[in-house]
Symmetry: C2
């Protein structure tokens, strides 16, 4: 990388600022238009199971990239990415317990670690907004509401657990358009998994999400549910691998990919 | 056409049987896989208004073809089509009143008549069935339920009236897939126009359709509403043109086009 001689593109610039420790917070709004990814780093022994888990549950776990064991680079997602420094804040887990939240993981790196980058709904939310559709938690300045459902994911090795979904309420006409828009983005959760009655997927009360914040549902609006990238995190919590590193919530990896490049047609 | 020397393709064969008076009933199930069209024939003076009406209301009035004035052929829809003989049963209207239901209209033909062929939901129903999705009225051996809504179409000249919709109930997962499948068919009504609460579009009681038959709605199912080709017929009834010929309900023009050729991607 040649940061001195020529101006860097926005995603690389954001990653360098993060690498330099200048940015340790949420990445929402950084390098706008660029794909951001959920981060899961596992020892190779667990990584094989986890990759099969993702393959079997592509809607909640769309894998954008998998590293070589021990390699900190992710060349398909951006030139010069170093996964040990380029995420603003990490979470380190040992046997399923959160042990620290460092801003870089160089000291923790091992030559058997495999990095997974998993698509995130930020990408399709951009497409929803561009289509003039409402994204209620953004309108209300809240975190997206997330719910554990009674839909089981397909297990692989120790990885297992319920499908977690996000919810965005809309009027029916917007629901139809939102299904069309998000169907174009299979790599970032794609089309919804449910519309309407929350009890049909085991959600007792929309006002009490399991993660994130509740949002207002207007008269005549239908709740629309998308598979959520918290699903693999729930599976990891349940699997209790001896060692695991994830991004801290909201502090994602910023890639060189553009959201619109993920559109399938 | 060379019916003597070589076997005809199924659509042409069906049209010839109809032309010969051998078939005067519904066309459902004939020449399976082929696009069938709603027929509207108007004098040129009204045809200009009607074409603008269709252009302004493409979801209920997707025009597959418009003839030259006085020409009985529709070359883009099939070699050798004669619109005066190739529909099993017609309805003849004068000043908005149904005056006869002949099986051919050669004697009524005028050199100012313009034929419109408008896409029909038969095409997307085939795609729904191929996708393993339920089409309740087919399951129940009934006509599709149709409802006048409180959604106004965009007027053009004397043509005006409410949007008429068809309804097919499904579970939410099937609704999402049905939106994807029918979005591929913009020339045959495309994606739904509404999902869920019928009262939001002015439908008081699903059990009492304005046209067709009621169908059962199962527990947890959402009613899904598509724009319907009865919409232009309602506009014509309201406009009361001095002369008009349509197909009799269910007795459509069979074209050489294949349903899957209408898929937009």
């Amino acid at each position: 990388m040649n940061a001195v001689l020529e101006p860097l593109p926005p995603a690389a610039r954001a990653r360098l600022a993060i690498r330099a420790g200048e940015w340790t917070g949420h990445t929402s709004g950084l390098a706008e238009g660029h794909v951001q990814g959920n981060v899961v780093i596992l020892p190779a022994a667990q990584a094989d199971h986890f990759l099969r888990y993702c393959q079997r549950n592509p809607k909640p776990c769309p894998v954008l990239a998998v590293s070589e064991p021990g390699h900190a680079s992710l060349p398909t997602l951006g030139a010069g990415i170093d996964i040990r420094t380029d995420v603003p804040r990490y979470r380190v887990w040992r046997h399923g317990e959160l042990v620290s939240e460092p801003t870089e993981i160089r000291e923790l790196w091992r030559d058997d670690l495999v990095t997974f980058i998993i698509g995130c709904s930020f990408s399709f939310e951009q497409a929803l907004l561009d289509a003039g559709l409402p994204v209620r938690h953004i309108e209300q300045g809240r975190n997206v509401p997330m719910y554990r459902t009674n839909i089981a994911t397909v297990p692989a090795g120790p990885f297992n657990g319920p499908l977690v979904v996000t919810m965005r309420p809309m009027l029916a006409g917007a629901v139809i358009r939102a299904i069309q828009v998000t169907s174009r983005f299979p790599d970032v959760h794609g089309a919804p998994v449910h519309i309407g009655d929350p009890s049909l997927i085991g959600i007792a009360d929309l006002a009490r999400p399991d993660y994130g914040d509740a949002v207002d549902v207007g008269p005549g609006e239908l709740p629309v549910f998308w598979a959520c990238g918290v699903t693999p995190q729930a599976a990891i919590t349940q699997a209790r691998p001896e060692f695991c590193i994830t991004h801290a919530p909201g502090a994602m990896l910023i890639t060189d990919l553009l959201n619109h490049e993920l559109a399938s047609f």
